[in-house]
């Protein structure tokens, strides 16, 4: 009896069984077929992986050696020489081998191994074109890789590519493109500060900050005050105020003082902190006057800012709020401010230690113990 006949008789037999048994037989057969297919898939995945591992094992040390020779020695290579030597190692310069090469360069950059000859390798191997093809890929993973690799390799010739994705329907790609535009555009890197229509996530802030640092390295960091002034997006305003403090940008005192009246407590708190970062100490009395009417987040910012000003004028105020505060975490911050508030602060701290008892005394001891790194 042939297989087809057997199958037909089997199907005929199944039809005579109750419905539940019929379903069970069909599903069991489906599970067996699926398991076999999965086994083949596992085998294929492993085979591909083993082949890649073999390639990596053989070629990566050689590529590292070649790139180190080009980047970190005095030897001069022509673009053609670099291409030929790279081809000798990887056998064929294709997407896979270029990905390995880019990975090596990204590792060098992440290890802060500086050299002026990165553009030479990038040009010799056609890495810009390689990244362009990754931008054009249907895979989101490839696009994200391209955004990040272009940034790490300090390439900024992708205006049109990135701009295309800045209006993508995919929220994650759109967000990544808009953030990356700051680093990857040559024409108008700050374009999307005018168009921010979403709350910034913490990751957006981390990315934008590193792109701003890159702009600073390139000497293109613009004054951020105008966006603080005009933007209606509070999360962007908070971030930019923080960046003004971080990059110590001057000339925005008035904007910061204006932001002390903002309805959003996060904006006020960041403005207060930045006043401290920029050492705008003429606002000290204003901050003290506001202390009791502000929420906790702003109160903490005021204490930290007064500590930064370190004028010696507000010691009495700090002692007063230490006594008044009921929040242990805030008390720790105030005690730390007193301890680090000039020479008079140290004396006042000792006096407090002599007069206080119980848990308040423990807070003071906690703060002055150098072994406790994070108070």
């Amino acid at each position: 009896m042939g297989f087809v006949e057997w199958l037909l008789s089997f199907i005929y037999k199944i039809k005579t069984f109750p419905l539940i048994i019929q379903i069970t037989i069909v599903l069991t057969m489906a599970f067996i077929v699926a398991t076999l297919a999965l086994m083949i898939t596992i085998y294929t995945i492993r085979r591909r992986h083993n082949r890649l591992q073999k390639t990596l094992k053989n070629s990566v040390p050689e590529i590292v050696k070649l790139f180190e020779d080009i980047l970190f020695t005095e030897k001069n290579y022509s673009e053609q020489e670099i291409f030929t030597k790279f081809e000798d190692i990887v056998e064929e310069v294709n997407k896979e081998s270029l990905d390995i090469g880019v990975g090596v360069l990204v590792d060098f950059k992440n290890d802060n191994r500086d050299s002026e000859k990165y553009p030479l390798i990038i040009s010799a191997l056609g890495i810009v074109e390689h990244l362009e093809s990754k931008f054009d890929s249907r895979s989101n993973s490839e696009k994200i890789d391209a955004f990040q690799e272009a940034f790490v390799l300090d390439l900024n010739k992708f205006d049109s590519k990135v701009l295309r994705y800045a209006y993508s329907k995919n929220k994650l790609i759109r967000s990544e493109a808009r953030n990356s535009y700051l680093a990857l555009s040559t024409n108008d890197p700050y374009r999307f500060f005018d168009e921010f229509d979403r709350d910034l996530s913490k990751w957006d802030q981390i990315e934008l900050m590193q792109y701003l640092e890159l702009q600073k390295e390139r000497g293109n960091l613009e004054g951020l005050g105008k966006w603080i002034n005009y933007s209606k997006n509070d999360s962007l305003v908070v971030f930019l105020i923080k960046m003004v403090g971080f990059f110590k940008q001057k000339g925005i005192n008035e904007i910061l003082i204006e932001k002390l009246e903002d309805d959003n407590e996060l904006v006020r708190a960041e403005a207060i902190t930045t006043l401290g970062e920029l050492n705008i100490s003429e606002t000290e009395q204003e901050l003290i006057d506001r202390y009791y009417t502000e929420p906790e987040i702003c109160q903490v910012a005021i204490v930290k800012t007064i500590r930064k000003f370190n004028t010696g004028k507000s010691l009495k105020f700090l002692q007063e709020i230490f006594t008044d505060s009921n929040n242990t975490d805030t008390k720790k911050i105030i005690a730390e401010a007193i301890l680090n508030y000039s020479y008079e602060g140290k004396i006042a701290f000792q006096n407090l230690k002599n007069t206080l008892k119980g848990f308040d005394l423990i807070i003071l001891q906690h703060v002055e113990t150098p072994l406790i790194k994070y108070k």
């Binding site: 069970t24 398991t35 492993r46 993973s141 423990i362 807070i363 072994l371």
Partner: protein, 521 residues
Amino acid sequence: MFEIFVKIYEYFIFFYATSLILSYIVLAIFSFIAINKYKSYNTDIDDEELLASHLAPGISVIAPAYNEEKTIIVNVKSLLTLNYPLFEVIIVNDGSKDDTLKLLIEEFDLIEAPFAYVEKIKTKPYKRTFKSQNPKYDILTIIDKENGGTKADAFNAGLNASVFPYYLNTDVDCILARNTLTKMIKPILSSKTTVIAVGATLRMSNNCEIEEGIITRVRPPKALIPRFQELEYIRSYLLGKMGWELINSVPNVSGGLGMFDKDIAIKAGGYGADSHAEDMDMMTRMAAHMMNNRLDYKIGYIPLSCCWTEGPPNIQILGRQRTRWASGLFQMFSEHRKILFNPNYKRLGLITFPYIFIFEFLAPIIEAFGILFSIFLLFYGYVNWNFAPLILLYSYTFAIMISSIVIIWDQMTFKYYNTTREVLTLFLTAFIEPFIYHPMIMFFSLKGYFSYVTSRELAWGTMTRKGFDNEDDKKKKSDSNTGSNNDGGDSSGNAGGKKQSIFEKLKKGKSSNSDFEPIKT
């Protein structure tokens, strides 16, 4: 009449099994989408960006220790090697009776430090804090407290002492991957909705190579019991939790490895001090807190394996572990019973809790009843021998298929095993698992339920450790016969006291849930 009953029972079992199978298929599809999504939008360059950033938020790593003298030093060193710009390590010595504290003091050059410990969450009395005099270990804090009887109490003490806005809870017997913190904080940083917790996959460390507290080579366990558990963990995390993640319904984040928003954890009342399923209990409390306050939240999961823990090497220890887990699950459903099928709790009350209740909590009971009923039918000749093997084959082939899917998902995510042979070893384990491991788990689950109902004592979840051998760095010690600090039944040194019976608890009604925030309607 009896025949009608048998018929109804047969149909019930068929539809129960089929709905379970369907749910697994749906979860497999969900997890596939979730894993691909994760892989598309997360890269290793993200880690570098985060490590170099001034905006990386601080994380407190909290690990409770109870009688862990065999492994404490290696494991604390492992925690100290984590790669992240801003973190502290807090070890809570939960009144250990052995030399855990002494070893820590000697190894890390600790002295008692004045520490402003604020009891934001009530715990058994705090005794003192130790800090290292060696600048190399300046991020290490040891909290010494009286034994609270549960890991939950120790976690609460760690929470009280922590300073950063996020915390990672782990066990001191866990070896973490160096990039654990960068990988696990990413979903929190990327989301605009508040992410209250993030979990990752745990695996067995039993046959792995460990050097200076760092995993250098991953292998599936040689011994059968931990290998079964490896497969079970991968299935549970990659298929179950990753699948739930897609629809924001992750039921729990493992006590062995989870990152949480500290502020919300404290507002939710911390860990239930008497809870033996502290992880699911905590997750439920936090989710309930967010819903009560009409706040959006998300529970994240990443498909990477970040934590390796020593699996039970034999049936006895596996039994203790699973009995405690099952008892904890019963306790969890008993204490949070208001959530079950409660529409006010949205997905938690109508999807996650009912699913766990029907397919995890009730499964051992239904299975045990099925076995007894089958024996009865066998004696009375009611078994339909034409179809019975087919039904068995139906379940068996499905179990193997789902394990195969999980192994592929694992291979898709990250290829932890170096050789194809190691992958095949795990694959072959799937063929025998339904006959050997599954019945044991069912038995221990029932034992756990029984222990809970009859209020047997449950101890802190420590397990007899083999420890890691530093001398040859590659092999674990073969000596495992100490037995001084056991999981489950061995109550030596456990100040947990006798547990209330379920009947007493039910009698107390609402008051028994006093430390759990009820839903506001």
